[in-house]
Symmetry: C2
Subunit: 365 residues, 2 copies
C-alpha cells in the first residue's frame, strides 16, 4: 500500500491499495454482498456507485452455495460478476451471531448451519481453505472476539488465542494472489491492544484489522478505542475497521488513521427508506415527500437522484415495491463513495479536521 | 397506424404505431408496471429489454398515490421516468377482481379501495378524468366484461352497456395528445362480437381492444374467440388483446391479426424463478443448475445471460435474494421482446405460420 498524503492535523491518510483485481483508493468503503450480491443490486449498479471493492461473507457462502461450489464455478469474482477487489471475512463473527449450537475450543468452533442444521468446523485452517476456495483478494484470519463487556482476564485470553490462531492461519494460507489480513483484539485496554498489535506485526501480515471496537451511540468510546488501537500498527499497511459504516463513525475512524470500512448500515437503512445525504437523513416514507418533485439529494449523480423524485421514491415504499429499496440502496452507497471522495480531497488538502467537524456538526441530532 | 407487411398465409401483420411519446413496432408486447414500476426494475433496465411501450394500471395509481398527485408531478411519464409510450387500462377489470364492495349500475361502479376502504366512483366519465390526469399515450374506455361462463342474454346486455359506456367515454375524453381505445365484448358469440365491433367502429376510435377473450390451456378456444373478434375491426387501426402474455398465446393471437399485448405473466413467472427461452421453460430452482456455468439462454443479450451463470441465478433464488427475481424478470421481458422481433421478421418474410408452428411444437408439453 502506498500512502500519498497524511493530514497534518491528525492521523488521517490517503493511500492506494494494490490487490490482485485492481487498486483501491483509501479511505475506502466496501459495500457488503453477504450472499454474493448487494441486496437488490446487479454488479453493474454497484460499480456505478463508485465502489472499488466489495465484501462477501464467508459464513453465508460456505453454507450456501458452498465454497467448493464457488471454486468449481471459477471463484467469487466470476460467480458474482464482480471483477474488482473483494474481501471475505473469516466467518467467525457470523458463527457466533447466527449459527446454532456453537462450541468453541482451542482447535476452533463447531457449529450447526442456521439453514439446514448441518455441522461445520470453523478452525483457523478451515477458515483459510474456505476463503481460498472463494478466492477473494483479501482473506481475514479467524480471531476470537469475546462478548463485551468482559473482564480483563477474558480479554487477555482472547488476545492470546487470536495471536495463536493468526499464526495457524498464516501457516495454512497458501494462495499468493490473496492477501491475508490479521485482526487485532484487546478491547479498550492499551496494554493488551499493544501486545496484540506487536505480536501480529512481528508476523508481518500485509494488512491489519481493528477488531472488537464497539461502535454505536457513544462517540467518545469510539475515539478511545481507536486511540489505543492504531498507533502500534505499521504506517505502510492498510488498517481496516470491521463492521463500521455510519457516516459519523467513519469520519472519526479516519481521523485515527483507518483506511478501510465495511458495513450493512447503508444498504439495510436504504431498504428501510432511510437515506443519507450531506444535509442529513431523509426518511422517504415521510408524508412531507408526497408531492415533492425534487430529487433525494440535489447534485447527487446516482440514478435515484437523476431520474426520480422524492414523491416517486415515497410512492415505491408506500406501495411495497422493491424498486424503493433498490433506489435507496443505490443512493446510500453512492453517498458513502462520494463522502470518501471528499474525505480524500480534504486530507490531500490538509483540511481534514475542519471538513469532518463541519459535517459532524451538521449531522448532530 | 401504418401497416408495413401482412403475412400471405394468415392475418398476421407488421406495423408502426405512432403515439405522442414515440413510435412502437407491432406486434408489440407491453410489460406491466402496475403501480408505476415493473416490479424490481428501473426504467433504464426496462428500456434495455427492448420494450417500446409500457402499461400502468389505472386502478392502482388512482388509489395510490392518486391520479391528481401524479398530474401535479407532471404526469405518469415524468413520475415513472419513462419517456416512451404508456397505455393505461380503464381500471374496470381490477375493480371487479381487487376492490371491496363493488356495486354496478348503468352509471358506473361504486367500490371501496382494498388499501384503506375509501369509496370511489368508477364511471365512464371518471375513468376518463383519471386517465387524463395520469396522461398516458393511450387510454382505454370503461367496458363491462361479464364473468364467464354466462348465458347469451347476459353477454348481450354487457355488449349494449359497453357500447353506451364507450360513447360516454368518447364524449368525456378531451386530451388530444391521448388516444382513446374502445374495447369489444361479446364472448365467443359471432353475432354479438360483430354487433359490438360495428357499433364501436362507427364511433371511429383510434384503436380497438379485444376484451373478454378467455385464454388459458385450451388453445382451440383462443383460436375460436379470436376468429370471431378480429374480422370486423378496421385494418388500419391497432388491435390490442388485453392481459395475454404466454408466448404460445401471443403466437396464436398474432396469427389472427393482433398487434398489441400486455401481461404480468413474464414478470410474475420471473419472480417465481420460471424463465422462458426459445428452447422452453427453465426453472431456476432446479437442482440441475447447481454447478451449471452456462447462461440461462445462450445468445440472449440481457444482463442476466451476459453476466451471470445458471448456478448464480439458482443461488440467488435459493438464498431469497431479490437479485434473483430482478434478473429473471429482465430475462423474461427481454425474451418476449426478442420473440416479437423474430415474429416481425417472419411476417415480413412471409413465413409466419411456419415460424410460429415450429416454436409451438418445440414448446408443446
Amino acid at each position: 500500500m502506498s500512502i500519498s498524503a497524511t493530514d497534518p492535523g491528525c492521523s488521517a491518510r490517503v493511500g492506494l491499495l494494490t490487490l490482485t483485481h485492481g487498486t483501491v483508493n483509501t479511505p475506502a468503503f466496501m459495500p457488503v454482498g453477504t450472499q454474493g450480491t448487494i441486496k437488490g443490486l446487479l454488479s453493474d449498479q454497484v460499480r456505478a456507485t463508485g465502489a472499488e471493492m466489495m465484501l462477501a461473507n464467508t459464513y453465508h457462502l460456505a453454507l450456501r452455495p458452498g465454497d467448493e461450489t464457488v471454486a468449481k464455478l471459477g471463484g467469487l469474482h466470476s460467480f458474482m460478476s464482480w471483477d474488482r477487489p473483494i474481501l471475505t471475512d473469516s466467518g467467525g463473527f457470523q458463527v457466533f451471531s447466527l449459527a446454532d449450537r456453537c462450541k468453541m475450543s482451542e482447535k476452533g468452533v463447531v457449529f450447526s448451519s442456521h439453514i439446514d442444521g448441518r455441522r461445520f468446523d470453523l478452525t483457523p485452517e478451515t477458515a483459510m481453505s474456505i476463503q481460498q476456495n472463494l478466492g477473494a483478494d483479501v482473506a481475514m484470519c479467524l480471531d476470537h472476539c469475546p462478548k463485551l463487556p468482559a473482564d480483563k482476564k477474558t480479554i487477555a485470553e482472547a488476545v492470546e488465542r487470536t495471536i495463536r490462531w493468526a499464526r495457524r492461519c498464516r501457516d495454512a494460507h497458501q494462495r499468493p494472489d490473496q492477501a491475508l489480513f490479521a485482526i487485532t483484539q484487546g478491547a479498550s485496554h492499551k496494554d493488551l491492544r499493544e501486545q496484540c498489535a506487536e505480536e501480529l506485526v512481528a508476523m508481518d501480515f500485509p494488512g491489519y484489522a481493528v477488531g472488537g471496537v464497539s461502535v454505536g451511540e457513544d462517540r467518545e468510546h469510539v475515539h478511545e478505542a481507536l486511540k489505543v488501537s492504531t498507533p502500534k500498527l505499521p504506517l505502510n499497511k492498510p488498517r481496516y475497521l470491521m463492521g463500521v459504516g455510519r457516516p459519523e463513525d467513519l469520519l472519526i475512524a479516519i481521523e485515527h488513521g483507518i483506511d478501510m470500512f465495511d458495513c450493512v448500515w447503508p444498504t439495510r437503512n436504504g431498504r428501510n427508506a432511510s437515506c443519507m445525504t450531506f444535509e442529513g437523513t431523509v426518511r422517504l416514507r415521510n408524508a412531507a415527500h408526497k408531492l415533492d418533485p425534487r430529487p433525494l439529494e440535489e447534485g447527487c449523480p446516482c440514478i435515484a437522484c437523476r431520474q426520480y423524485s422524492r414523491a416517486f421514491l415515497r410512492h415505491m415504499f408506500m406501495s411495497g415495491e422493491m424498486t424503493g429499496p433498490i433506489l435507496a440502496t443505490i443512493h446510500n452507497l453512492t453517498f458513502l463513495q462520494r463522502l470518501m471522495e471528499q474525505v480524500r480531497s480534504a486530507i490531500m488538502e490538509g483540511r481534514y479536521l475542519a471538513f469532518s467537524r463541519e459535517l459532524l456538526a451538521k449531522w448532530a441530532p
